[in-house]
Amino acid sequence: MGVAGYVALRVGWAAVVSVIIVTVTFGLLAAAPNPSVQQAATQAALEGGDPQEAVERERQLRGLDEPLHVRYLDFLTGVYTLEWGWSEYRSQPVTTALADAVLYTAQYSIPWTILTVLFGPLIGVYSAANMYTWRDHAATGFAFFGYAIPNFFFGIILLLIFGVWLEWIPIVFRTEVPAFSLANARQLAIPVFVLVTGSIGAIMRVSRNESAAFRNATFMKTAKAKGVSPLRAYAYHVMRPTLVPLSTTLVGQLLAIFLGSSLLVEVVFGIPGLGRLTFNALVAQDTNLVLGSTLLFTFLAVVGNLLEDLAFTVLDPRISYDDREL
């Protein structure tokens, strides 16, 4: 079994996981009374109609009178053919609504991810290189501050300072500015900063602790003994092995922060991205849209975990594909 075999196996497993999650989601929805059915009943009752009849009609309309396995297969087909239904709240197909929102989410999450992945390991290794000096303590303090301060709280405070008091940034996100413009950069600077402080701390801590072990490894002594400069030694001999364990946590950490924080940051800063869309769908009781955004996030998580595993395999030469378990 070579690389290709392993990748195929791992992708297959990711597909299995996604099916399981989709199934659990279906089970959850199927077991509960459908809100729109209830809504129809309430509506009918208010309008003096027969609630029972309204329920029947609504159920038929939504195909809820079909047997469970048929509905399950329909659901599964729908999910994997991207027929995610009509969003009543947005009056457009769910996929279109999601695609629109993704554009806004991408505007801040791409710079955020790049900055985190770039600076997290760098600061971590720097901290380890200067372990127990004031530089290390400063970096550690920054990291702890970053992941201890709740993103939404930090966002509110910064918005108050820079938006309300100093008026440097707009309080409400303006969608009319072009994506690649200074104005857009200005209004996204604070959300990106908030997210970066939140995520860089975790990455930096992991990098620091992992590279601390490699810093004292004999191979570092070997590198020093053969006359390699400290900078080169850290860049090649510490950074590289640190990336291996880091790769196992990096994607997970980023995803966890992304799933939680994008929701909060978008609500706080009024960015009409995926998080805000999900929030609005929840408030507006738009089942299809709630389901759609949940599935999108789920697939992101599955793909993220897949990439994480593949990265780990590629990065660590000691892992032969033959011995690698899933």
Partner: protein, 391 residues
């Protein structure tokens, strides 16, 4: 010693221990200076319990073409000593004092960058555990080529050809096929050979080998020792060999320096130290070796068995001789002042023990099993109790 040169160097080095004469190989350095001369080397570490003195003022020299063994048990400071030579110790928490002269040039005064040029280029290291000594993320070839290119501006292809050649020199089978493999694909002995190849890339003058065979099986160990001996003869290397294993010392050393608790107990040509050990510690250590009574007659007097007691606390070393608290021959005078000055008891054979006067025969040490020694011991005991009583 299979090579015919070592006998001569052993004799020559006996003289150099006193600071005179040298066996220069004509590599352009001043011929009067020894290859490596260490004086008053003292390495301390700041710890929460106070300053930990790992190496407490030791001197030794290494000449070209000779092997000097630093021998001692764990905690004797032997590894710290050799890592202090080129500043491999992190400072802080470490602090290195004393003088380290390499071909007459003072190393401790050098700025880090200049010191780095010496490391690898003229002083190369081989470490104990080949398992971790190579970076698991890079191929063996990459690491060898890095070692070459750090010091020389050569093309990748030329560096690679040299790396293959070196792997062949150190006896890695099929070097061309294996240069692109990762360290985990090599056996322990092969990794150690790769480490030696890496140490040789810049044709150093001094090779520091820190317990290079301890982690290896005995048949593998024999091969590595043989290789080091061959290379010493071929390249005219000075070898500073650190080990806890006296048997290895007897196989490879020209001269021996016995360390205990960071200080030198005894030094001399290997034959003298093994056949006429002077210091009680050396004697006890030799007596500890299992299954070898028949090999050696000199140990005879001492009883087989371990050395009672344990190493002194390195943050608060005892007064006088460091070994006195565990010594069967200790008198009250042993526990006062500093470590006794070294006394010559043979040609280049010197011992740090108050029981000797210059020129004494190393066998002059009183036998501890006699009643006189018993009396000495009890006097030490009472002396100690007096000290405790005073507090």
């Amino acid at each position: 010693m299979t090579d015919n040169g070592s006998g001569a160097t052993a004799d020559g080095s006996g003289a150099t221990a006193d600071g005179s004469g040298a066996t220069a190989d004509g590599s352009g350095a001043t011929t009067d200076d020894p290859l490596l001369a260490v004086e008053g080397l003292r390495t301390t570490f700041e710890t929460e319990a106070g300053d930990l003195v790992a190496v407490d003022g030791i001197d030794f020299t290494v000449e070209r073409g000779e092997t000097v063994c630093l021998v001692g048990e764990s905690g004797s400071g032997k590894t710290v000593a050799v890592e202090s030579l080129t500043g491999l110790i992190d400072q802080p928490p470490g602090r290195i004092e004393g003088s380290v002269r390499f071909r007459g040039a003072e190393l401790t005064a050098l700025p880090p960058k200049a010191l780095r040029r010496h490391r690898g280029a003229s002083i190369a290291y081989v470490f104990q555990n080949p398992q971790d000594a190579l970076n698991h993320c890079y191929t063996v070839g990459w690491q060898l080529i890095e070692a070459i290119q750090v010091h020389e501006d050569v093309s990748d292809a030329a560096a690679r050809a040299r790396a293959i050649d070196l792997l062949d020199t150190v006896g890695v089978p099929d070097p061309a096929g294996r240069i692109d493999e990762y360290p985990h694909q090599f056996s322990g002995g092969e990794k150690q050979r790769v480490m030696i190849a890496m140490a040789l890339v810049t044709e150093p003058d001094l090779l520091v080998a820190d317990e290079p065979t301890t982690a290896l099986d005995v048949t593998t160990q024999a091969g590595i020792l043989q290789l080091l001996d061959d290379l010493k003869a071929e390249y005219g290397l000075g070898v500073l060999f650190v080990t806890h294993d006296l048997a290895t010392v007897s196989q490879i050393a020209d001269r021996v320096v016995v360390l205990y608790a960071g200080t030198v107990m005894e030094r001399g040509p290997v034959v003298d130290v093994f056949e006429r050990p002077a210091h009680p510690y050396t004697r006890a250590l030799l007596a500890c070796l299992p299954g070898r009574e028949s090999d050696l007659d000199a140990v005879g007097g001492a009883e087989r068995g371990g050395i009672a007691g344990s190493l002194p606390d390195p943050t608060a070393p005892p007064d006088g001789c460091r070994f006195a608290p565990r010594c069967a021959h200790a008198e009250s005078a042993c526990s006062t002042g500093d470590q006794p000055p070294e006394v010559a008891v043979g040609d280049g054979h010197r011992v740090s023990c108050i029981h000797y006067d210059p020129g004494d025969d190393p066998s002059a040490l009183p036998d501890p099993t006699e009643s006189a020694a018993e009396a000495e011991r009890s006097s030490v005991e009472s002396a100690r109790q007096d000290v405790i009583g005073d507090e």
